[in-house]
Symmetry: C2
Subunit: 119 residues, 2 copies
């Protein structure tokens, strides 16, 4: 099955915000050419843009990895509702993964960052 991965960040009207996520996602996107960055609101490209694009490129399924540290209302309610709507609109399956903050590799990276910081 042809699968695309969307790294989903919150958006902002501030361009520095989206630039930070572009830089954060850059190594992942460079390593995986079936992955894309999208924003749930305010910034472009939108989640809908990227779901539609995946369908147009022949993908049967989209995995959505939230670039969020924890689950709040957005990940419990808003994003699932958006994905249900896009599944129906574009005839594609979607799967919402846990936010990156729940992944053990992120905890380890944080411990390393604190080690770098502390003299």
């Amino acid at each position: 099955m042809s699968v695309k991965t969307i790294l989903l960040a919150h958006g902002s009207s501030d361009l520095n915000w989206s630039r930070t996520f572009e830089e954060l996602a850059a190594p992942a996107l460079a390593r995986h050419n079936s992955s894309e960055l999208a924003f749930m609101e305010l910034s472009k490209p939108s989640l809908e843009d990227k779901v539609k694009e995946a369908k147009d490129q022949g993908a049967e399924k989209v995995l959505v990895l939230p670039l969020f540290l924890a689950e709040g209302r957005h990940l419990r309610k808003d994003v699932p509702a958006m994905l249900a709507e896009y599944e129906e609109r574009y005839g594609i399956k979607t799967s919402l993964l846990p936010p990156i903050g729940k992944h053990p590799k992120l905890s380890e990276a944080l411990a390393d960052i604190v080690s770098d910081m502390i003299p």
Copy 2:
């Protein structure tokens, strides 16, 4: 100079939110016993609690590492204002670091997480 490090997360009225940050921070806190987790609002312990505690324990300076992926209004305005207030109130120096999302180790961890996910 005696320095304490505070890992600063946003808070939430949802207990699952703070639990996620406790788990995320656990390896860093275990490795560095001069570091603590605090929340800027809604969850406990608060940033003010931890700045006061650092002062009571004899620290001269507090480094604040934001457990945020990018800088929005909170990190540009609200947190600096809080820290300026606590510096004056408790007679301690503070330094606000860039959010973890800007650290290259976080980008690398994200690339590894995506590698794990993609079959």
